[in-house]
Symmetry: C2
Subunit: 300 residues, 2 copies
Amino acid sequence: MLEAAKELGYVPNALAQRFARRKSGNVGVILPFVPKVHLFSTYYFAEILSGIGEAAKACNYDLLLIFREPDSPRDYAKLFRTQKVDACIVLGAQNVAEERAALAELQEEGYPFCLVNQRFDEDGYLTVDADHESGSYTAVQHLVAGGFKRIAFLNGPGVFSSSGDRLAGYERALADAGIPLAEERVFTGNYSRKSGYEAAVQIAESIRNKEIDAVFAANDRMAIGLMDGLREYGIEAGKDYGLIGYDDSDSSRIVSPKLSTVSVPFYEMGRRAAMKLLASESEEMENMILPVQLIKRETT
Amino acid sequence: MLEAAKELGYVPNALAQRFARRKSGNVGVILPFVPKVHLFSTYYFAEILSGIGEAAKACNYDLLLIFREPDSPRDYAKLFRTQKVDACIVLGAQNVAEERAALAELQEEGYPFCLVNQRFDEDGYLTVDADHESGSYTAVQHLVAGGFKRIAFLNGPGVFSSSGDRLAGYERALADAGIPLAEERVFTGNYSRKSGYEAAVQIAESIRNKEIDAVFAANDRMAIGLMDGLREYGIEAGKDYGLIGYDDSDSSRIVSPKLSTVSVPFYEMGRRAAMKLLASESEEMENMILPVQLIKRETT
DNA sequence: CTGAAAGCGCTAACAC
DNA sequence: GTGTTAGCGCTTTCAG
């Protein structure tokens, strides 16, 4: 009889099933609001999400996308209370009070969640990060090895742990090379192409004055924006100054001259984060920091 | 009392609510399987999905991502039978028997769905498409206006309606310019950078022989692959031959020389598709074909 | 208009 | 094992 019903095209109602089991069968992915940017069109999010998708599929979970809105509060716990998700992955989390409070609430109530590419060291949240300190160290070391001595750093906002990590790597590399740290050589953008482009006006001047001979940018988008901006002053990457980006995005390969960069396993980071939450034979629940890799191309 | 409960932090259980209402509250987005490609990292999908996300949010729906698997059958109707979704958007649908059958089933059973950037003209499915015939016509016309006379066409696979549309536009533009159609100038790639790169070996020869003086590529990725491939033969876009791509992706702006291309409102297409399905004051349920726009840059 | 009760389609516990 | 039944937390209907 059951057999017959099934052969007649019966499929169980997942909604009823999930209700009875009190499991939504969904992993939520919380996406930050980034003004005026189509989020998926950034290499960073696109890759992480692809990795999460792969893992969710493998674990028979559905993937629910949660778009944060600019004004609305970060009530992540509500996702669990309403049973919309069984677990969630927070992308683009920032080290600001409201975010910390929202995550602390999840932790207190015992809801499973994982952060990707962002650490909150004091609180022991489940995290999958990449080793940006060492990636930055290697990048700067590579510039030093190329004979550059006045190396500027175009960093991202401090609310991301990766910015702190990169600054640490930059400083350590300079120290190891015996190059004094010069405050006027560190700039802060917001990871957009535009912010790189805009940094060009100051950096162009410094390159002309020989106060800067190379730049380490915290992501490829800013590096490319900077490259374009400096080109308008007749200053060429790989010729007039060394330049290294970060992320090994598709753009870094397409741009000319080809951008040296640091490859980050974003896809794998997303996959691992989801696996930690969903896999039954849960891989060790310890936090992990994946290695990154220097990619030498034409700008250094 | 109800008031009190709510102020005490009560939130209704969405799972129970949806079960009782027999509405999942989800829009499904069906993503094609593209081997070895991290799907979101393609401008095309990334933009469409961002648009869908925007609309879903506005209509208070959750967005469920459905990753097709390479081998598994396209049982789209099952998504509705199991109540996982209330409506769905099919991306990257192909004109092959299995796809047509799966869509026909949805139609027969009256499940709401919408196609984006793909038409099945014979069946009257709800569709949001762009005017690729006219986009291609304009692109080729622009090459003609630039003095090019032996214009090759690197098209995508025939399973996509856009490929047929583009071929029609290419042919009409040549006809209007009084240029005879030459079969040996039309090539077929698969929209990947690699397939553009590989086409370079044949096209390089034809450019040397003066049998081809310009190329219209059906997307930017192939155009850029071709550009890189031809460069290895010492043949430069914008100098030794005209080149125009399609999509106006970020890459087209970053590459040098900057790629002329055709801008397609993918984000808007995604948004409209979702709106048609979800909006209560449903905009006219007619199919729509959005306009595209020629973008002149350095390669033409 | 307020309040009680049936029922959504399953799962899980329990009895046979 | 197989069969029965209560119950998941809401919505909706129907009675008061």
